[in-house]
Symmetry: C2
Subunit: 283 residues, 2 copies
């Protein structure tokens, strides 16, 4: 089911600037028992992105109405929202009056093994580097060629995610997830001021860790620092929190084959509690 | 007139990865008296881009056939070719069998004053910086948000183009054009290994200058070096060669109000000759 500006359609004019230039943004939201998880946070990030790209934010109530309608009676799914600058303008120059395109679509929830959360995943280090671009750092824009090429580096179904460094050699994130690691009870995550996407789940983890009194450091961290970690995990709105048990050739977190690190477990448990309290009380 | 995979259509599935991720490339080609100017060069760049992005290049004869058909009896126009990775895959991961989308469309030639070529244009220096991304440097991908935001910096119709620096402070190019300058009879143009689009007209200028025995230097040049130039000009496949007569607040090439620099004039004249010989002999 796809709503394009409120109409049930699946096609869009190729003149749309989302298609011509990647001139837009998107959000990917978990649907659980008809609820949209962290919906307000996703809408806030979308609004921030629109502000930075100078795209007028669509009518929020309309967006909420459409997203909620598509999520009704859905036990588990993924809702995607795309906002583009619409059609018009001359070349890169956009028109004086922008009429954004609003696309809301529902998709099946990906079939991830429960084992990924419980015992961790295997991740690899990608060859592809993330370029530096402070203007768009943090935003989930439609310009995603780096992620596409990084994800093309492997076909092995045993490997669930690839981790990218930026041009400066800082570890940044996974192709579709944010990166955290723990060393001596401090939680580390890359600063996303030069590149990367600031995930909603990343925010949840940072806030939760802070509330738990866990020390947090954001900065530029090397692959060596990552490999010296006691715990490593990846996050996004759909996968939640995936411990990394192995980075073949770089780091085998041997203990993770048997158990997941303490801080990782605490954060997973807080996430489960949060979803339980907020979204499942009426089910 | 728009041909999508050979069919006369104007809409595309929103599942197309060109729309979802900017997962594709494009070319913009001048049509003159039914001829496609520098067509072979555009096709070569497109093929190179497809190779780098791992998109199978569409049937070349088909592409030539469609582009030629759309250009028939067109006195002057712009032909745009877009190639995307098509639909399918799972998230950023593309499918094992890629079926590219091929879009060929014809557009009116922009109404540029002949004065721009004859006496030069006014350009500005943009605030927006170009990010660094060697993977895509040189390529005309569908990830063009930087150009969109740069072009949004001004509305003054007296200003025809904006010049961008990269994050390192090197001058790189215009929002829609490549940048050249002349100092003491040497022709300078930014090296496009970290960012920028390597234009077909840029190649023509470099080859022509070389054949004329003009010394050429490619490298990282500062705004100060640009402002110390004897001549500045911008190129693309549609505008040809536009002298820059004024960079308000930075450089007024006073002489250019009366005349265009010698090397600029030589190159403009060679371009005109080339188009006359190759494309107009049968008209």
């Amino acid at each position: 089911m796809i709503l394009i500006n409120g109409e049930n359609q699946s096609q869009l004019a190729i003149s749309d600037r989302g298609f011509q230039y990647g001139d837009g943004l998107f959000e990917t939201i978990e649907v659980l028992n008809s609820h949209l998880i962290f919906f307000e946070q996703h809408l806030q990030r979308l609004a921030l992105g629109c502000e930075k790209l100078l795209i007028p934010f669509p009518d929020k109530q309309l967006l909420i109405h459409e997203a909620t309608a598509l999520s009704q009676n859905i036990k588990r799914g993924v809702l995607k929202i795309i906002i583009t600058r619409g059609s018009g303008g001359r070349g890169y120059r956009f028109p004086d009056v922008i009429q954004p395109t609003r696309i809301v679509s529902l998709h099946p929830f990906p079939e991830y093994s429960p084992d990924f959360q419980q015992h961790g995943i295997v991740a690899r280090i990608c060859q592809q580097r993330l370029g530096l671009n402070p203007t768009f750092a943090g935003l989930k824009t439609l310009n995603r060629l780096e992620q596409v090429l990084a994800r093309a580096e492997w076909n092995n179904p045993e490997i669930q995610e690839g981790i990218l460094l930026d041009l400066n050699g800082c570890v940044i994130e996974g192709t579709m997830s944010n990166l955290f690691f723990v060393k001596n009870n401090t939680l580390y995550t890359p600063l996303l001021t030069q590149t990367g996407i600031a995930g909603i789940m990343r925010d949840f983890v940072l806030q939760t860790a802070s509330a738990e009194g866990i020390q947090i450091e954001q900065g530029c961290f090397s692959l060596e620092q990552l490999c010296a970690a006691d715990e490593i995990f990846l996050t996004n709105s759909i996968i939640g929190i995936w411990p990394v048990k192995d980075l073949p050739g770089f780091k085998n977190l041997a203990g993770f084959n048997a158990h997941v690190g303490e801080i990782t477990k605490t954060l997973q448990s807080k996430l489960a509690q949060y979803k339980q309290q907020v979204y499942q009380h009426d089910n």
